[in-house]
């Protein structure tokens, strides 16, 4: 049983909107919840490098190639600070990667969809990063200090990513008829999976209860999803594309866009491993990790020799 005094003090810190820091007492469930959420977030950054990496060598201009490379590098960097934030909770990076490889830890399902054309690079930046930012801005106020600080840093870079994606889509949408078709096609394919990124409706969300009390999560899935839709609809109109939802309409009274029903069957299938690329994304990560084993072993052996030399000297 958790110590009652500790628990009261812990909740008081949270209720005062102060941060919980690594050495502070915390309930085991809080720690577990954070490890699950932060590691999922870190793995998403890292696996998310794959669909975009698919187009680095084929980016259509030197400028576009440089921006895409910088963006992917940022994502790897985000993965690093999130792994570090997670390590403050008493778990090692090796364990986190092991959990990814065995399937115990998840990553965002969106990255199980393929980046088929160059327009997908625009759609990923604009919609996927756009959806991620809405969630991450909210998480800047999360109760765990290291996670909150990582989010603040990440948000600054993500807003550049979202603009980069929107710029690609804008150029395509205003380009030749073939380019415009490519842009609309990418929007058609990425729109619904982007809405799914916010997770199930509030009424069906299994992890939200305590996460809200502990202020790990600050706003509900549906609130965040709605914010994303309202922002994105206007951006879509500016570049002359159409959101693939016949039921999308402005609700004057509520001041929000109403949308059609999300295909939760698809969502559940992809989460449970049946998306187009679940197996391939993971296999790529495992293969890079295995191919690098001899390199990591060499680095450890070399470091051990250096340490020995210092001791002898």
């Amino acid at each position: 049983m958790e110590n009652v005094n500790h628990l009261e003090k812990f909740q008081a810190v949270i209720d005062a909107d102060s941060k919980i820091e690594p050495k502070d007492w915390m309930p085991e469930d809080y720690r577990k919840h954070l490890i699950r959420q932060i590691s999922q977030h870190a793995h998403s950054e890292v696996i998310g490098m794959q669909p975009e990496g698919n187009w680095i060598t084929r980016a259509p201009s030197l400028r576009a190639k440089l921006i895409l490379l910088a963006k992917i590098q940022d994502e790897a960097g985000h993965g690093l600070y999130l792994y570090s934030a997670c390590e403050t909770l008493g778990i090692s990076r090796e364990e986190l990667i092991e959990q990814l490889h065995t399937g115990k830890a998840k990553y965002s399902s969106i990255f199980n969809y393929p980046a088929v054309t160059w327009a997908d690079i625009g759609a990923i930046g604009w919609l996927v990063d756009g959806a991620a930012i809405v969630n991450q801005i909210s998480l800047q106020r999360t109760s765990y200090g290291p996670y909150s600080r990582a989010m603040i840093r990440i948000c600054k870079e993500e807003s550049f990513h979202q603009r980069q994606g929107y710029e690609i889509m804008g150029k395509l949408a205003l380009g030749t008829p073939e380019q415009k078709e490519m842009a609309q096609d990418a929007l058609n394919r990425w729109w619904w999976p982007s809405l799914m990124m916010f997770g199930p409706h509030d009424t069906d969300s299994p992890h939200s209860g305590k996460a809200m009390t502990w202020r790990i999560k600050r706003e509900s899935n549906d609130v965040l999803r709605q914010r994303f839709i309202d922002k994105t609809v206007q951006q879509t109109e500016v570049i002359g594309l159409k959101i693939p939802d016949d039921k999308l309409k402005w609700n004057e009274t509520k001041g929000v866009y109403e949308h059609g029903e999300i295909d939760w069957e698809e969502f559940n299938q992809v989460i449970n491993g049946n998306g187009p690329l679940n197996k391939i994304r993971l296999a790529n990560h495992i293969s890079a990790h295995e191919n690098g084993a001899w390199v990591r072993e060499a680095a450890n052996a070399y470091a051990a020799k250096q340490k020995k030399e210092v001791l002898v000297a």
Binding site: V46, M49, Q50, G53, I56, T57, R58, A59, P60, S61, L62, R63, A64, K65, L66, L69, A70, I72, Q73, A76, G77, G79, L80, Y83, W118, I168, K171, G175, T176, E178, Q179, N284, H285, A288, H289, N291, G292, A293, W294, V295, R296, E297, A298, A299, N300, A301, Y302, A303, K305
Partner: protein
């Protein structure tokens, strides 16, 4: 050959080397042995493609025929490229990429420090920035050569083999032709014959410290100065140039 033609050709050579090696390094994205190394590879790719962008832009200005840096990168065929063969080689394992990077970064350091003193201000400016980047590339590849060379038996054998296999592509970096003669005469570029001793010293010191053998100079490959390349270059360009070639009227 006029000075302008020589400068165009020379700048293309520098730009193509940066572009094609940057392309190869960018292929490491999501494949690195550690996330930190993945970032480092992408970072070097960014430096090199950034340098290629600046150099090809300058080449397009020197040529003054209305082509842009993207036209030069995306719309020339295999025989018009002037990058050294070593840049085109497939990445192989991490050790092979490190061996190539050590050889090229040491060469780039010797070359770009001289180019930073060039009488051509644009070249000198690009070179001054490149020197800072190349110092990091050299440090990165030196550190990894030491770790792999003096790490485990497997890593030692692997990277020794990489240096042995790649050695026949090293002499081509220093080849000179009519273009070089004009560049040297104009004070734009150094005489490549004067770079070799320093390059060899850097490589020898790193390899010996890494408990590796410096491969013997045997028969050396050649061809890039005349636009005769490896079979790999065609595939690199097929990928690199695909979109602008497939949609010639499109702007990106």
């Amino acid at each position: 050959m006029t000075k302008q033609e020589a400068l165009f050709n020379y700048t293309l050579r520098l730009g193509d080397n940066a572009l094609i090696l940057g392309h190869r390094l960018s292929e490491w994205s999501s494949k690195g042995p550690l996330l930190e190394e993945d970032i480092a590879m992408t970072n070097m790719a960014l430096d090199l493609i950034g340098r290629a962008d600046a150099l090809l832009r300058y080449a397009s200005q020197v040529e003054a025929k209305g082509r842009t840096e993207d036209d030069l990168a995306y719309k020339r065929g295999e025989r018009q490229f002037l990058c050294n063969l070593i840049m085109q080689l497939p990445n192989g394992d991490f050790g092979f990429t490190i061996a190539r990077q050590l050889i090229v970064s040491a060469f780039d350091l010797c070359l770009y420090e001289e180019l930073a003193q060039s009488k051509d201000e644009t070249i000198a400016g690009i070179a001054a920035k490149a020197v800072k980047e190349v110092k990091y590339h050299l440090k990165f590849s030196t550190d990894w050569t030491l770790r792999l060379g003096d790490g485990t038996e497997e890593s030692h054998n692997r990277i020794q083999k990489s240096f042995d296999d790649i050695w026949m592509f090293t002499a081509e970096l220093f080849e000179t032709n009519e273009v070089d003669a004009i560049m040297v005469k104009e004070g734009i570029a150094p005489d490549y014959n004067n770079l070799k001793a320093r390059w060899k010293k850097i490589i020898t010191e790193v390899l010996l410290e890494a408990t590796l053998k410096v491969p013997a100079d045997a028969y050396m490959q050649t061809g890039s100065r005349k636009g005769v390349h490896t079979e790999y270059l065609g595939y690199i360009l097929a990928e690199l140039q695909y979109l602008p070639r497939a949609y010639p009227d499109a702007k990106w």
